[in-house]
Each structure stands twice: as C-alpha cells, then as structure tokens.
Symmetry: C2
Subunit: 120 residues, 2 copies
DNA sequence: TATTGTTATACTCTATAACTATA
DNA sequence: TATAGTTATAGAGTATAACAATA
C-alpha cells in the first residue's frame, strides 16, 4: 500500500528531493535541508539512499571544503524528464480548458493556503 | 521540527484518525483502515497511541464479536470541538470574500485533483 | 472459507544531541 | 566562534506475513 513512485524505494521524501534538484540544480545539503524544511541529518539519509540507487551523487563543493554539492546523475536526469512529462500531461487533463494565467492564479492561491495552514 | 498539533505526540496520522471519528462517528478499525487508506496493522498502532493518550477508546462491537468500535472519549470530543472551531476561523480568514458556493466548488476541484494525483 | 484484528518483523522518515572538519 | 555534514539514538508511520477468534 501507499506510495511507490516507479517502485523500488522511491518514496515521497526522496522524490521531493529529486524535484528540488531538478528545479534548483546542484545544491548543498544545507540548502536542501532548508528547501525541504527538514533537518540536515534527514537530508544525509535521503541523499544516502538516492546515491545508492544511482540517481544522485555527492561532489565536493569547489569553494567550501566542508560542503557537498548534490547533483542528479544522468540516470536521475532521465527519470526527472519522465516525471515532468507526466506532470504536464496530468495538468493538461485537469486544466485543459483553463488559461495559463488562471492556472498560475490557482497555483498561487493553493500555495498561499497551504503556507497559512503550515504556519498556523 | 515538523508537525506537532497541540504538542505531545499528536501526529498527522493520529489527527486524521481523530477527524475521521469526528465526522463519521464510532467506527470499526476495518472502516478506519479503508477511510485512511492504510493497513489494518497501521490502524492498530494509531488506536493504541490514541487510547494511551485518553482520546479514544475501544468498545466491543454489539453485533460482531470479532470487531472493535473505536469511539472518541469526552476528552477527545473536547479536543475535536476546538479543532473544528480553529478550522472554521481559518476558512473565514482565507475565503471570507468568497461565496459559500464558490468555496464548495473550490473544495470539489481540489479534492478531484488530489484524487487524480493519488490514483495516477 | 472469509473477515477482524493482532503479533512479528522490517524499512523509512524525522528529530535532537554530540562530534569532526573546515571557515 | 560559527557552519556543513556526519554518527548515535529514538519515536513514529507504514508495509507484508502469519495467526487467533469469530462469522
């Protein structure tokens, strides 16, 4: 039961980290920790699992030897390209008769509402 | 970090079970398992924790000796009444300038979208 | 035979705290 | 002294499988 996401250990939390890398590019674990609103320790575990699955890799930060840059591997890029395609198809099915502007408005409203709930 | 919900072990999953009891009334664990889309084993654990916190209790089912009826205690009812009040205040702040009909439409759209995503 | 809920076991997410290496 | 990430430890959610009691 529950989420599988392409089967084999691709959980919700790991998928969110992958999406973040997809939209933000290579990131330090500190940055991921803030974007995902979780602890650095948590990011360590998620990156460990995704690295073992061959979807991301850790690279030394070019200017700060304390930090790591987490990057999508070619295999990870390929997976994210498929996800994005699926997302766009779904959006088309759900909002096919709504203008792009209205869709942006809906997204903004929804994000605002979720943020209010989160901070409440 | 993360969700606390009134502090002290009231996690998201447990809160959802409480909401379900609030809207559906006393329920068997089988029914809760279906409503919450999780396994019966999972419900056992959630009810254990909520029972230990004094918010629900298990009662024998009057007609089926295999089944339990999970019910809110008076303390649980009191908590849910506060939650509902807070929910209504939040809805008022977010949608105060929207008609009740529009709000129902929004809820329906959002529910439909989430269901599509879930089943995709 | 089928159903309700449990015990047993395992993986995952998440947090706090203490620590190392670097800034 | 402060920051980036790790190890150590713990609570919680969730799943499958095997089982007892009951239908």
């Amino acid at each position: 039961m529950g989420d599988e996401l392409e089967g084999e250990g691709l959980t919700q939390a790991r998928a969110e980290l992958l999406w973040r890398l997809h939209v933000a590019g290579p990131s330090t674990q500190r940055a991921l920790s803030e974007a995902l609103r979780c602890t650095p320790r948590n990011v360590t575990g998620l990156v460990d699992a995704l690295e073992a699955a061959g979807l991301v890799r850790r690279e030394p930060h070019p200017e700060d030897r304390r930090a790591m840059l987490v990057t999508l591997t070619p295999q990870g890029e390929k997976l994210l390209a498929r996800w994005r395609e699926g997302y766009e198809q779904l959006a088309g099915r759900l909002f096919g008769d709504v203008s792009a502007g209205d869709l942006r408005g809906f997204h903004a409203t929804l994000s605002h509402m979720l943020e209010q709930l989160r901070r409440q």
